[in-house]
């Protein structure tokens, strides 16, 4: 078993809700959940479990102190009111959900895209994690990605357009999880192409005949 489903599986969902995922994987989940109502409802349910478990926890060191209440009260006045960040045009806000927008320095059309393969452009996203790879990929209509496998786990979330992989079509908000054994070759929709977020635990390996030759040169 390698390829997974159109919405996040229960293991991934629990890992995101409990806080066990890395920052890049959390970014992929936050993006998926922003776009997929069904997964968002599951996430709410898991948070409610966290809330109930928290409520049932026994207090630690109950009577002997005020848990720093006076300190905290003295700090309250100075706290600024949190403002929602703005500054994106509808080119971006119609396509990219809020958690992912926080990682973009500018609108989608003015990002420094880099051509990584024929018909494939990439914008590499900086996160606090040095491992793996987080990027937006823009794939031209009908263009296929070189066939590849992964050294680790890969999560793809579709932001715009769609792609076909095997016999499954992935559309806006869908999430695909691929593990080490998965060997796949996504093909972007023939009309609209595809814009997606990819998060990799480890670099991909090209497996096609030509791909193997390119392996030392290409990363995507």
């Amino acid at each position: 078993m390698s390829m997974v489903v159109l919405h996040a599986d229960e293991g991934l969902m629990l890992d995101y809700a409990s806080g066990a995922l890395s920052e890049p994987m959390s970014l992929a989940m936050a993006t998926h959940l922003s776009l997929n109502k069904k997964s968002a409802v599951d996430y709410d349910a898991l948070n409610a479990v966290g809330g109930a478990l928290l409520e049932d926890l026994h207090a630690v060191g109950a009577d002997e102190d005020d848990f720093g209440l006076s300190d905290v009260l003295s700090r309250l006045d100075d706290e600024p009111v949190r403002a929602r960040p703005v500054g994106f045009s509808s080119v971006t806000t119609d396509v990219v959900p809020a958690p992912l927008r926080d990682y973009l320095p500018s609108d989608l059309d003015t990002l420094p895209w880099r051509r990584v393969a024929p018909g494939v452009e990439e914008y590499s996203i900086r996160t606090g994690s040095n491992e793996g790879r987080t990027a937006l990929l823009k794939i031209q209509p009908g263009q296929s990605m070189p066939e590849h496998t992964h050294g680790g786990r890969e999560i793809t979330v579709v932001l715009k357009g769609s792609y076909v992989d095997g016999c499954e079509t992935y559309r806006r908000g869908d999430l695909q999880e691929a593990d080490e054994e998965a060997n796949h070759q996504p093909i972007a929709d023939h009309k609209d192409g595809c814009l997606c977020l990819i998060v990799l635990d480890a670099p991909v390996k090209l497996t096609g005949r030509v791909g193997r030759l390119l392996n030392p040169f290409i990363r995507f």
Binding site: L14, G19, L27, L33, S34, A40, L57, V72, A98
Partner: protein
């Protein structure tokens, strides 16, 4: 889920302040065990009036639990108390974002302290979804039932948790308190990954 859908629709803020005709008064004293409704009102008082007395009451209820959460997550007592304090300061700052139609105060606080823990203990950012954005981004097929489903009261979830089979509950507590991924949990319990996943799925269906 059906029981939840039958819950009374939450009205305006003013109607919450009136006597609760539908629900009988709890037998215990309010100060000992605040109702879910009362906790919501406290957060709303902070949001609307910067009410310090409301903040104090919330603090006395939650700070010990938040500290206990930090200790369960492996922090020393001093760091755990710092975590509790930072989480409560977020309550003060973000009270305006709280929406009783979307979550209970315990659930909201769980998400705050979890994200603070990642920030404080792991020094990592936590990409989090924005509830308003979810509504804006998803197709308008979110039914009233689905919205109601996120209003599960503490009582219902806690009751469901208490009757959950031990093996399912164990997976949940290991995940939420010990910061273990489901694959680590499978390893620790010497169980196949599929078994852990099906326990999570079973638990989610029950809740």
């Amino acid at each position: 889920m059906t029981a939840v859908a039958k819950m009374t629709k939450v009205g305006t803020l003013d109607s919450q302040k009136g006597p609760h005709l539908m629900a009988p008064r709890p037998a215990y004293k309010l100060a000992d065990k605040p109702t879910s409704d009362h906790l919501c009102t406290l957060v709303e008082r902070i949001a609307n009036h910067r009410d310090r007395a409301a903040f104090e009451e919330l603090y006395r209820h939650f700070a010990p639990r938040l500290k206990a959460y930090g200790i369960r997550a492996g922090a020393d007592p001093i760091t755990a108390e710092e975590l509790a304090q930072e989480a409560m300061i977020m309550v003060w700052r973000k009270a305006g974002y709280f929406d009783r139609r979307k979550a209970t105060v315990s659930t909201w606080l769980f998400t705050i302290v979890r994200n603070k823990r990642i920030d404080l203990l792991r020094r990592q950012n936590r990409p989090e979804l924005d509830a308003d954005d979810v509504m804006a981004m998803t197709e308008p097929e979110a039914t009233q039932d689905e919205i109601m489903a996120s209003q599960q009261s503490d009582a219902i979830v806690r009751q469901s948790l208490s009757i959950l089979p031990e093996d399912q509950k164990r997976v949940l507590t290991m995940a939420f308190f010990e910061e273990k991924s489901h694959s680590q949990i499978a390893e620790d319990l010497s169980l196949p990954l599929g078994t852990v996943k099906s326990r999570i799925r079973l638990a989610m269906n029950r809740l």
